[in-house]
Symmetry: C2
């Protein structure tokens, strides 16, 4: 570490662009969701549950799918439970823990909010790229995600 | 909004890859910084101050540079002040508000921590791309960042 290989100007611009784009985008999407009372994190959880069989997922699976710790997810689910969007459920014949389940209110909420959210993602992200860039972005991130998933500590 | 243009599978993969890469990467960089007692956000603030004349920036400039609200930055600076990394300072001949200033401890900390952090950014991000992809990533994000900065509400 005595003679660190600092980032080149180009590498630094790419790294800072990734950070800035993500931060600006998540602020904008949160603002666009504001009227619905959902945060971007809430939205992501509702989508995951709505795409699962019986609209439910194990808490551990949901934590993996949304890339956060069990304890952080647990706080978030408590807030969403208070808002009537999800409930927790213990499955009698399955000792592997608690499920998060979409409520009817959660299901109508995600159906109502999804079109506007997709419109936001389109206008602030997808439509500012060429189709080739959309493909390139996935290609760029695929090995980075695989690497980071592989070294991720057990949770 | 009655007939939303849902994302195509390719568009959805690109969007989710952006989100997943950012979340995994920020968790990993936070873990790599853990021994230093800094979070990725702390690090970013120290870098911004260390690159500024006299190691200081107006709070409003620092909030812009790190893309966060004044109130969120203010809480963060309070925590970093308690850790002895920065101080707040009012400039007598300048009524435009408070400055955040790097302390000597903040300056030695960033010098000590920077080589390891750059190594992390290299090994988990930069080195998993070809030089062409590094350039492509900046090119992809440039118009997205410009668009989002332009529509960002006044803070």
């Amino acid at each position: 570490m005595d003679d660190p290989r600092w980032l080149s100007p180009q590498e630094q611009r790419a790294w800072r662009a990734h950070l800035a784009a993500h931060r600006l985008l998540s602020h904008q999407l949160d603002r666009d969701l504001q009227d619905s009372g959902l945060s971007l994190n809430d939205y992501e959880i509702l989508v995951n549950l709505s795409e699962s069989p019986d609209h439910r997922m194990r808490m551990s699976e949901l934590a993996d799918a949304t890339i956060q710790s069990r304890s952080r997810l647990s706080h978030q689910i408590s807030r969403m439970e208070a808002a009537g969007l999800v409930t927790r459920m213990n499955c009698e014949d399955d000792r592997r823990g608690t499920f998060a389940v979409l409520t009817d209110h959660g299901w109508t909420t995600i159906q109502k909010v999804a079109p506007g959210h997709v419109f936001s993602v389109r206008s602030h992200f997808i439509e500012l790229m060429t189709p080739e860039q959309v493909t390139a972005l996935e290609e760029i991130y695929k090995p980075i995600i695989a690497h980071l998933q592989a070294i991720r500590p057990a949770r």
